[in-house]
Structures are given as structure tokens and as C-alpha cells.
Amino acid sequence: MTTKWCFQSTPKALTPHFALHSPAKMLEPVPDTDDALPLVPLSQEPVAYPLHHSLSHPVSRVSLCWSRGNSLRVSLFCQEPPESAIEATTALTTEDDGSGGVVVELSMSNGSSEIDDAEWRRIAYGSVAPFALLQNRKNSAVALSKLPIASLSNVEWWEYVMDYSKEINSLLVNSKLHPSSMIDDPRKIMKVIKEPTCLKAAWELWGIFYADKQHQAWLPECLVDWLADYDCLFSQTHPTVHSKLVDLQHDLVNLQTIEDNPKYWEGISSALAVGWLDIVVKLLHLHGCNQLDQIGSREVEKGLVDAVVFLVSKMPRLRSESVGGRLGECYKSRQDFNMAREKWRAKLTKLDCSGFWIQCGHQPTRDGLKNLLLIMLGDIDSLSASTCHWMEFYISHFLHMRPFTVGLESMYSLAQQCIQLKPVTHRHTLMGLLVGILGENTEVVLAECFKAFGPWMVAHSIELLSAGGEQSETILHQKRHNLGGISIEELHRIVYAQVLASHALTWQLAPIYLVSCEKQGMDLLEILLYRQPVQHNQGLLKILEYGRLYELGSVSSKIMMIAGIHHWKHGRKGSGIYWLQQAQDEVRLNKIALQLFDFVGKTVSSESFKQWEGLIELLGSDTKTAGGLEFLRKYRDFKKSLQQIPDGKVNDTARQAVESLMKLMKNPSTPQRFWLPLLYDSLKLLTWPEHPLLNVSETNLLLNKLQELSMAKLRPDYIDADLPPQALSSVRLALAKILDVLFSRSDNPFMQFRSKEAQTAGKSRLKKCHECPQLPHNTWKGPSICTKVVDI
């Protein structure tokens, strides 16, 4: 890439606004570095920007951290002064600020300083919809035609780009209705209707050259209108026609015979030079000869003034239509314009040669009007004298000298001539931008734009630029290895997205720009979403919505996992489990299940049931922890039925409790360490006052389990439950008593039957149990319980 232009950073040493990724820097000439390493010596370093802080002691150490986007947080640590120094300082200042350091956030995202942060945010929000719409249209057009964007040069496409340009332009209006616009004051020659900004001026310039294909044929006239709207912006750094006229307006109030004042004629000629015909006519109407009391005595003068007014009003313009009732005769076609201009010029010449000039006794009027004729006839000296800076001079060429200048190349060479003839000491941003556009140097245009207006402008104006021509399109969309495989367009979108990301109120807009980045946008979006705080549910849901919208399932899972762990560790266990489940984080959920096991194992006999019941419910069926959670659920069911048993009264609940107990004890997934706690908890069932609730085989099974437990106790990995020391013996005694009772009640036909059944347990006997005619129906409710017990 060859770069003719080398723009050094503006020495904005004290400006707080600093833009990263400045393409101005990127355009610096590259040394021949094929072989040697590019060592950048310190002597070339730019001025260090001050990083203001409030510390009174010297800074001894600095630490830094990038925040979201491109905000940099810098920790400045104070040098701890010696004790004596502290005392001395304290004595002098009577108070020490008491801080050992400070963290300063450096925001490097703003562009132009003419617009405040809130206004930037309004523009940022407003520009999202047009940008997204254009991207959608572009994508659909590409999808339909399967052609690159450059091929989409149909009318419809230009209309899309134009719509976009207008939409964005409407955002940049900072309209403040000036009271003067409401009253038509004849002495008010300058109306302030809106406060123009350089940003809007720049956007319109882009629109004129790149977006507005309809007006391409009348481009010079578009520039005339543009300067009429924005010449005031140059007043900050240069004398301008605008400032000259503003001064004149102040003077008009005090001047009695204005035509005697050279400022009056200077103002008219300047206004005419840059094509502000309305102002010219208005000013000429203020000429003394138009005063009612003087018409008679200044007839010739008035005739000449009126003639000039007529010619000014009828000045042929090569443009589509008159904007806002502006004076001049508009011609759309070059041929018509040509003919009209010839006629008009003939009238000019005729007036110039008129004998009335000799009869005009008022010298300033004669000279002033003559000068106006010279301007209209395209006299370069008059134009140069009437304009203040090269851009005005340049514009005056289109009006009075070279109305047919077409093609950017000739416009560029004309601009260069004007710059040489009317050089400026300080080049205004908009001047640089215009030269860049005319020079068809895409990089310079972007560099100027970035330097002056920041990432927003570049990210959005690239759309116009890439629509402006194949060359620009190629430069903007070419994948560059040096940029990590992305194009300039993508680079600027990423840079702008980072700017958006750095503020809490705008980060939500960043995804829209990132998803439009073909190569690196989604990865950055993932990082951006990952780095959002998730402690508050509202924020979390918003991030997840983005994850869902852009199909970033993995980052959503990570975010939900982070939220889950945060809640879990901060005592909100239910929320923790909920979010871990949403994240489908089996590993952590299984660990939680194991923790619950431990927890349950320790407190099984306490009344803390409710604490973990909810958690088990939450862990529920989604968790695939085989056996473990199944046990917890069974345990919960058992515990519930145990609590619901009324004292000493046999009912279904007691039987269900026994049933649950036996299920638990038979289930191989029930951890051994729970056996004794389970049985100890069930002492109420085991020592049921009226009848044993267990049959022989069940009792035998439980006794066997106890025996197994006694053996296990000898192993080193045995986990002792937190139970009273007599727990084991109490359970064993209870079971022994059951057996005793069961065998002693052999007169009970049901028990005899059950005893037999117990000895030869099997499902084949189940039927018999049901068919047993001796079973009493009012006690024990035999068949049902029997069925269930045997069925187990």
C-alpha cells in the first residue's frame, strides 16, 4: 500500500479525548523493514498525556487493567513516606488525605469533543437501526444475487444507501430554533436556525460524494450548498465569509448610510463569491437609494442596483431545483444551463459596458457594483479578494469560473491550486477531509475522519465509502494479514464495538456491530458477554437473551454456571442449583449432590429436614446422578411419611413408612453409612406398641444389615454417623423384640400365613396371599400390606 499522506497526530497534549487505533498513525510511512527489526526509539515518542490524580504523595508504583471495551483502569500507589516526613507534612497541612493510592479510569473512546457524552449516546442509539437495516438489506441482496457487494450497483441499492445516509444525518441535527427565524427582520441577513456541528458537516460531505448518486451531476452545486450551511464552522480557526457577514450584521444596526461603508460592499461581494444570492439581494435592498425619500435623487444608482439585483436573482445554476426558495435560475441539463448562462453573461457584459456607470455619482456604489459584476464574470482577483480561505475560493470557482468541473481528478487539482493560492496556517479537519475525498485516498479519508470524529464516524461512514466505488470497496474489504486476517471495515466495526462496550449504558449496542463482523466479531462478542456481571438476575437474563439471539450456547452456559456458583457460594443454594441446572453442568451438580449426601448423613436425625428437602426437589429428575439422588428422593419420601405418622395408631401412613424403609434398605444405591441412621430414625416403627409392622423376613434382612454394618465398622474407610453411642444396640434390640413377638403370635392366622410366606418368599405366592379366606379385613389390612411387602 502506498500512502502519499502522512498526518502526524494533532498535538492535543492536553485534550482529554484520545482515540485508539488511530488510522492517522497507521498511515505513517513504513521504513524498509524487510530484514531489520523495526526498533522504535524513544526519541520519536509523542508527548505524554497527563493522567490526573488527586494523590498528594509521589506515585511509587503503577498497576493497570483493561476494563470492558477500551477503558483502562490504572492503579496508582503512593510512595510510603518516612515517619518523620509524615509528621512534618501533617504538621504543615494539618491533615493527610489518608489514601495510599487511587484507581483512575481512562476512557479512550470519545471522538470529537464538540459533542458531549449524552449526545454521543443518543447518536449511538439512533444509528443502530439504520445500520442494522442496511446490513440486513446488504445480506439479503448478497444472498439473492450470490454476488459480492460491489456488484450491487442497481438503483435499489443506491436508494438503500441513501436512506441510510439520510437516517444517520437526521440524527446529527442539533436543532435549536432561533427566535430570529420567527420574525422576518429585513435587517437580519443571517438566520441561525440550527447549530451546525463538524460531525454533521462531515457526514453530509460523505453523503454528497459517496451516497447521493442522484445529485452526482450537480456535485459542485452540492458543495456550494454545503459550504453555505457549514462555513460558520471554519470561523473558529479562520476568518470566513460567514464571520464577515455576522460582523456586518452587528454594524448594520448602527450604520445610517451603509453604502458608504466599505464593509457593506465587502460583505456583498463575499456573499456573492460563495453564492449566497439571497443575502446579496437582501443587502442590496438595504442600499440607501431604495429609501423612499431618496429614490428621486438617486435614480441612476437605484437603476444600477436593481439591475445587479436582477442579474444576481437570475444567475443560472446547474442544479436540480432551488433549495428552500433560494434565488437563481435552476437548470437540470447542461445544455439548457449553457444557453442560459451565455445569455446571462451577455446581460452582465452589457451592463458592464453601460453608460449609466458614468452617471452614477456615488463612488462606493459604483465600485461595489462593478466588483459584483467582476465576480459574476469570474474575475479571479475579485474572487480571491472576496473569499477568506481556500475552500471558499474553491467553491467560488464552481459558481463563477468553472461551472462544468466534473470528475474528482479535476476537482482535486483545482483544490490544490486553490490551496496554493490561498494557503491556511491551520488546516481545519473538514478541509483535510475534503482533500482526502477529492484525492480519492481512502486511507487518508478514514484517517482524517477517525482523528477528528472518532470510531462512530468511521464505523458508519465506511458504509458510504464502500458504496462509493470499486476501488474503495476493495481497500475496505480486503483481508489483511497484518490485521489478523480482517478487513479495514471489520477493524473499524470492532474498534467501535469496543467503544460501545466500555460504557454500561451502551454495551448492549455492541453486539449489533460485532455480528456484522465476518471473522472476529463473534469471538469478541463471546468475550464481551462473558465479562458482564451476572450477580443480578436482571443483568443475567439480558446477557442470556443476547446469547440466545446470537446462538452462543457455550457462553450462555458459562455465564449460567458462573451465576450458579456465585449464588451457591453466597448462601443462595436454591438459586445456585437452578442456574447450574440451566447450564447443564453435570459435574458441579453431582458434586453438590455428594455434598448433600454428606450433609444428610450428618444431620439425618435432626429436624433440619426442610433445609435440604427443597434442594433435593430442585436437583430433581434433571440430574443424572445414578443412584445417589435416587436415594435422596427415597429418603425424602421416607422421612415425610415418618413425620406424618400419628402416635400409636396404625394407619396407611405407618405402613407406607415401613414400605419406604424396606425399599431404602434393600436398594443397593443406599450408601452404607445411612443404614444405621435410617434404622435409628425408624425406631418408632420398629417399636410399634400394638403389633410389629415388619414380618420375619424383613426383620431378618434388617438384622443382616446390622451385622454387615458391624463388620464394616472395622474397615478404615468406615464413616461413623453422628448418632448416640447406643443407637446400634437400640435398633438391634427393637428388631429382636419384633421377631419375638412375631413368633409368639403364631395363633394369628395371618401371621402364620405370613411366617410361612416369609420362609419361602416369592412372587408365585402372592396370589395365595390375596386368596387367603382367613384374612381379617378389619385388622392389619392384610392383603394390601401383604401384597406390597411380599412384592418387594
Binding site: M1, H17, L20, H21, S22, K25, M26, L27, V30, L37, P38, L39, V40, P46, A48, P50, H53, L55, S56, V59, R61, V62, L64, S67, L72, R73, V74, S75, F77, C78, E80, G100, G101, V102, V103, E105, L106, H481, N482, G484, G485, Q498, A501, A504, Q520, L524, I527, L528, V534, H536, S554, K558, I562, H566, W568, K569, H570, G571, K591, Q595
Partner: protein, 326 residues
């Protein structure tokens, strides 16, 4: 535009922001760990929410544990002690910072640590003053107290040679920023020591098949592999076809391009993209922004410098900031 976001306690000498930049942990010369929070997630004013005495000596570095494992920090103290502290709420009590692990080492002091996150586990790399790197792995994702020493090796390419008595004054570790689940687990580590072979930054990669760490690249300038390394920083990669690692030595800041795919010998291609004059002395810290395009550095000249590459791939200083009292 700069603005003050937090005022630090007296004696504070190190600080670290958590993953979402909403919490600041600071360490001080009296061994106090202070945590700063903002009460509103959208606010950028941070106040101290807790102070915990974690050590009798000086805390020289604070590192946040990845958020997937809770709100926790590792504190390195001047005597080389390393401890993990976690914010928890137990049994309905209010949140408090609790010690969950002390890493003991008889051989050397801990100079630097960093946490690395893989799809399955959390790893901790610690660089010790005896030139050894220890990699620990968390055993239980819910409990930060259970760590297992996974590997223990010196920062040398040739695994046979061992350096008995070396003196390392500082070290710097940087993990490859996590990008996707299948990404290789790697880190880069450099030493500032009296043993030249230890010093140069090496990229270590975990060989899953053989469960061991292998040096896959050495980031040493041709003329000075003995250069003492002040800091290393691995840039986030959001789609580049190569990795970027910044290494600060006494010669300056080197920007390295490291290939993504190993050659037949298992080595990654390396190339110095730029060698920049740094801070005229020691570089204290280097940090990449989230896109990996801008490098921020600070060092003994007290300045904060920003570095970028232009469209032609030429690295340059984009800006410098001088702390200035109001």
C-alpha cells in the same frame, strides 16, 4: 477523560480487578486484603466492602480465581507464601473471606502465579524462586481447598539439565486466553534470574496423551537468550491465524507471533514482529485489551504506554500517559 473510581488504603501496593471489572482486590504492606465493590452494577465508583488480614508480611500480588470457581483470590506474599481466599456465606451467615488453601513449599518462594481454565479443570501455575514451575490442579470444582500437584519442572527446553542453585528475583506467567473448549492448554513463562537458560520465555503446552507439559516454543531474541524477563502477556485471539505474545526484557518489548500448529518436532513457529523501546528499565506489567489489539504497559519510568500495530503490521507506541498530581 480520566476519572477516579476508587481510593485505596494506605500501604496498598498491588491490585487486581475481577473478570467483569466489578470487584477490585488490593494487597498491602501490612498483609491486608481489601475488596472494593460498587453497590450499583452500572456505577463506576468502588468502595471498600471488606478487609481481611491474610498474612503478617507484605502482599505483593493478588490474582483472582476464574469466576467459574467462585469469588476467590490468591495472595502472594513477599516471603513467597501463597494462599487462596474465598468469599463465602455459610449457614445463613453474612459473607466473609475465608482461607481455603495455603500452598507450602520448602524449596523456594512463589514469585508469580496464574490460573488457567480448561473445559474440565482449573489449573494453577506457580513460578518458584528456585526456577521450578509447579502446576496444580483443582480436584473438586466446588472446593478450592483440594489441589493436587500435577507437574513440577524447570523452565528449560532441555529437560535433562537441571540447575541446582539458582536465584530468581522475579518471574512472569501468562496463560493462553481461553477461546474454545477444544483449545490446547498452554502458558508462557519467563524468569528474571542469574541462570540464562531459565530466563528466556518458553511456551509450555499440556500433552494430553502423555499427561505432561512440553516446551513447544522459546521466545528468545537471537542475540540474547540470557535476557532477564520482566513480564510476559499472551494476547487474546479473536480470530487471528497466529498467537501474539508480548515479552518484556531489558532489551525492550518484543512482540512475538507464534504459530498455531506445531511442526513435525512438535515445535511452534515463532517470529519477532517488533522490538520496541520500553520503559527504559524494568517493565512492571503488560496487559492486552479484550480484542488483543492494544497492549498497555507500565514500568520503572512511571508511565503508562499503549502500543499498537498499524495497517502494515508495524508496531508503534500509540500513546503515553504520565501520572500528574492535580
Amino acid at each position: 477523560m480520566e476519572k477516579s473510581v476508587a481510593t485505596l488504603d494506605k500501604g496498598t501496593i498491588c491490585s487486581s480487578w475481577n473478570y467483569c471489572y466489578q470487584r477490585l482486590a488490593t494487597g498491602s504492606i501490612d498483609g491486608m486484603l481489601a475488596i472494593f465493590d460498587s453497590y450499583d452494577p452500572d456505577s463506576s465508583v468502588f468502595n471498600c466492602s471488606s478487609r481481611t488480614k491474610v498474612h503478617k508480611g507484605i502482599i505483593v500480588k493478588v490474582v483472582w480465581v476464574p469466576p467459574e470457581f467462585g469469588d476467590a483470590v490468591a495472595c502472594i506474599c513477599s516471603d513467597g507464601a501463597l494462599s487462596l481466599w474465598e468469599e463465602v456465606s455459610e449457614d445463613g451467615h453474612s459473607v466473609q473471606w475465608k482461607l481455603c488453601k495455603c500452598f507450602q513449599s520448602k524449596s523456594g518462594r512463589v514469585l508469580d502465579i496464574q490460573f488457567g481454565l480448561s473445559s474440565t479443570s482449573l489449573k494453577l501455575v506457580a513460578a518458584y524462586s528456585d526456577g521450578y514451575i509447579k502446576v496444580y490442579e483443582l480436584q473438586d470444582p466446588l472446593e478450592l481447598k483440594n489441589w493436587q500437584l500435577q507437574a513440577d519442572f524447570q523452565n528449560v527446553i532441555d529437560s535433562v539439565s537441571k540447575f541446582g542453585k539458582v536465584s530468581c528475583s522475579s518471574a512472569s506467567v501468562s496463560w493462553i486466553p481461553q477461546r474454545c473448549e477444544r483449545q490446547q492448554l498452554s502458558f508462557v513463562l519467563g524468569y528474571n534470574s542469574d541462570a540464562p537458560q531459565l530466563n528466556s520465555s518458553k511456551v509450555w503446552e499440556f500433552d494430553q496423551a502423555h499427561q505432561r507439559w512440553l516446551p513447544v516454543a522459546e521466545l528468545a531474541l537471537p542475540s540474547g537468550n540470557a535476557d532477564q524477563v520482566y513480564a510476559v502477556a499472551w494476547a487474546p485471539n479473536i480470530g487471528r491465524p497466529y498467537e501474539i505474545i508480548a515479552v518484556a526484557t531489558q532489551k525492550g518489548l518484543a512482540i512475538w507471533h507464534v504459530g498455531l500448529h506445531p511442526d513435525a518436532d512438535g515445535r511452534l513457529s515463532v517470529e519477532v514482529a517488533a522490538l520496541l523501546s520500553g520503559h527504559g528499565g524494568e517493565v512492571w506489567q503488560m496487559e492486552w485489551d479484550m480484542s488483543g489489539m492494544t497492549l498497555a504497559t507500565t514500568g520503572s519510568d512511571g508511565l503508562v504506554r499503549l502500543w499498537q500495530s498499524n495497517l502494515n503490521g508495524v508496531w508503534h507506541q500509540q500513546a503515553a500517559f504520565q501520572p500528574t498530581s492535580l
